[in-house]
Symmetry: C2
Subunit: 277 residues, 2 copies
């Protein structure tokens, strides 16, 4: 059998995965959802034919979106995740005993449902008693919460359609207000090799709102260009000076990408990216 | 027009580039050579349908293969490059005034010819008077030279066919002998996300021969998985302790990926790679 799933990463670039089987296909109010079994990367989850995660490399994205900020905050009790309906981000957050409450706001219930059925390696995150799930628009949710969260993670899809508003100054201002006085925000911010202008705009917006802002980088093979950027935006704590690696000691050996060394290294930006921000 | 070049990165994974034009196609004694003009990455050079370089991202590979070792050696006068017939690696080496002689040994003359005709942004490296080019088998060349070079760069294709012997203990022993008593070798060593077993074997072989060995990493979008590894193997100088960034001061502003910060960060390995080596 020679069956392939192809992502149009840009108009001029495609990544294709050889497929063992299509496991699920659904259409929700918001998007088309699919789960495939691939030969190279295990299970593959797509939204509107864009790769969201694969079984074999999701550890990079989920470890890197979560542990960087969690190790910079001395007391991260109340956590908000916008998006992240597959469960992978909360699975990592739960490893920190200091976390008391995790609120996950996902716009599309079908993302949670399909993950629970077909992607147990990430959806295991929903089993923890500290987690509360709200199915609603993250932008609306955040407007109605002030001075409440220690860390907010924006675990969104690409900046198109309903997710587009998650990358604007106005939204970052609401995030700022929803955070406590020493809060931190982390967001995924796309791929610097081909989206330099977008990253420039996003970091310029973030710097209007937060006093401490830096991109950091991680290698994710199944995302366009393989090099992904995240934004660390903070009211008080610094991404290097306030990092404390004692917090991950109890589970450090489980981690496959994140480590104290990687925490420091991921903020080292090649000059072509430094120029953008 | 909807014309695509597709690389079979593995049996189960493909990367495709939309093409403006096929600029050249040739067959040499060793391989099929092609140059395309692409929409996303500018000129694209392939050997046997594998991506060798693109105009837009070659700077990462060429800066990272060369400057790391050059900044760790106090007196790199005599340099040997095995492979590298496109000229990109020697273009970077030439930026160091301390370098007096550069010997490039390329097995396939057609690689040099097609690069000079179609890839001037890398082939400009051949214009420097310090460069001598030999068209012959790098393995044979190195067997006949002892105690001669300060740094040897193995800028090879993938470990298949005639390049396969460039990744074995026996070859590394010849490289060791061709180096002076304080020499350094750098080699490209493929992609850790999918070639873990290969990398394990290569670094185990290197450690049999050299006292100081470490992988280092760089993000190269058009290579499989986007994360590439290099080997730093040295008789005397350490990759961090002996690094001196004064050497790049005269041209530091031209560099787009390499920097003193990146030099230190690129040796920070995610735990899943650390386990391999």
């Amino acid at each position: 059998m020679n069956l392939w799933f192809t992502e149009n990463q840009t108009d001029n670039l495609r990544l294709s995965f050889r497929i063992k089987k299509l496991l699920a296909y659904r259409e929700s109010k918001f998007q088309k959802l699919a789960v495939y079994d691939t030969f190279e990367y295990g299970k593959l989850f797509t939204l509107d034919d864009f790769v969201m995660l694969t079984e074999k490399d999701e550890f990079v994205y989920h470890e890197m979106i979560s542990h960087v900020a969690l190790n910079c905050h001395p007391n991260p009790e109340n956590i908000l995740v916008i998006g992240g309906g597959d469960g992978g981000t909360i699975r990592e957050i739960e490893k920190h005993d200091r976390v008391k409450n995790i609120t996950l706001v996902e716009i599309d219930e079908e993302v949670v449902k399909i993950s629970k059925e077909f992607l147990p390696f990430v959806a295991c995150g929903f089993e923890d008693k500290r987690v509360k799930v709200y199915i609603e628009d993250g932008i609306e949710y955040i407007k109605n919460h002030k001075n409440e969260f220690d860390i907010i993670f924006i675990d969104s899809t690409d900046p198109v359609a309903f997710a587009e508003g998650l990358f604007h100054t106005e939204f970052y201002q609401f995030v700022f207000e929803a955070l406590k006085e020493d809060g931190i925000m982390v967001a995924q911010t796309e791929y610097p090799f081909l989206k330099g202008d977008f990253i420039k705009q996003v970091f310029s917006s973030l710097k209007e709102v937060f006093p401490i802002v830096s991109p950091y980088l991680a290698s994710i093979p199944t995302y366009p260009t393989g090099l992904w950027s995240f934004a660390f935006a903070s009211k008080k704590y610094h991404f290097i000076k306030n990092a404390n690696f004692e917090y991950i000691k109890p589970f450090e050996k489980e981690l496959k990408y994140y480590s104290p060394e990687i925490h420091k290294a991921c903020f080292s930006l090649p000059p072509f990216i430094k120029k953008l921000v």
